[in-house]
Symmetry: D2
Subunit: 113 residues, 4 copies
């Protein structure tokens, strides 16, 4: 862990994030905008999972935040005057963990009982 | 829609929500607590989907909020001194929409192009 | 703490929460809706602080969640077809803490150095 | 607005954000970590307001996100094995608006009545 801490500024941090964009001033439908964000993630080759509450992504901090910024800019380019984005982003330096492993870890707890 | 508005206080509102609990003061592992919340949802028969960023649920407002409150109380009963919970909850009165339909709606947009 | 745990179901949990409502399908301005929510809090006598990112409230869990539900319903009554609400709610059983004490606690850390 | 849209990639987007960091695996107290983040904001000269639910900041997107990333890294350097951060970030291209103006706008609505 010491090595990881030492290099934390130089290298990037691996992260798991979840985000959702909310366009204001363009009516009630969100799906065209969520679809646009999904395209951004696909173009950038970022691993992602779309669900009813948002989109989960995993990768390096800057890579994830760069993609979210592009989503925000793309929505404005589509004519959205105001965009509110929620992000939850988690990093850990004790060990590596993917999105799939997080879900797996909960399921294990449930089947052990 | 007028009928719905008129009755909004009497009946309950249907909602889609996403929530995640963060226990503080009990170490670095979240999965035992997420598993406990999953049990609460199962016991109450609430439709839910666990993913890497939280848990999605759908149903009536009070039903969903009651379950989240019980999760919070259960974590304290497991010995967690401090719990921080994030909730995103959405209601719409223009039409009904399930969690599955939300995701489907984005996918349609992508395949149409 | 044992006593508190024992009674956790019977009594209510004290909580500090922050919430923000986002009305969809009604244009770009949020302030009339935030103002309506502020009125709900005033009518119910709930201690609150409005800031640029949302509204902070403190009190018993049910009291806070009841007020948030009423905000959501009021926005629909104002004609908003779709409302997305974000909530962060925190409870602790190790000791009581008000919103003011939370901020004070950070400031103390900074002046001690 | 057309001019703004055209340049959206080149220049940066102005944003108002709110964020809160939650350190896991280091006990129940959050204030030393929130204080550390406040120092990051002060060092970088970012306008900020600390409140009970998080910290509000305003400025250019990259500036804000750079500061949040540094907070996250600093917490790890303080020995926090796992950090969960929540961010709400809003941009608008119809007009400029500061954090203070957002709050003012709600208050105006209330006094007009």
């Amino acid at each position: 862990m010491a090595e990881k801490l030492k290099n934390l500024d130089d290298s990037d941090m691996n992260a798991i994030a979840e985000f959702s964009v909310i366009p204001l001033g363009v009516g009630v439908s969100l799906s065209p905008y969520v679809a646009e964000c999904k395209k951004v993630l696909q173009e950038r080759g970022i691993k992602h999972l779309l669900h009813a509450g948002g989109t989960n992504i995993e990768g390096e901090w800057d890579e994830l935040m760069g993609a979210i910024k592009e989503c925000q800019a793309r929505l404005h380019k589509m004519g959205v005057p105001r965009v509110q984005t929620s992000i939850k982003i988690a990093t850990r330096i004790d060990r590596e963990q993917t999105m799939a492993e997080k879900v797996e870890s909960v399921k294990e707890k449930l089947t052990k009982e």
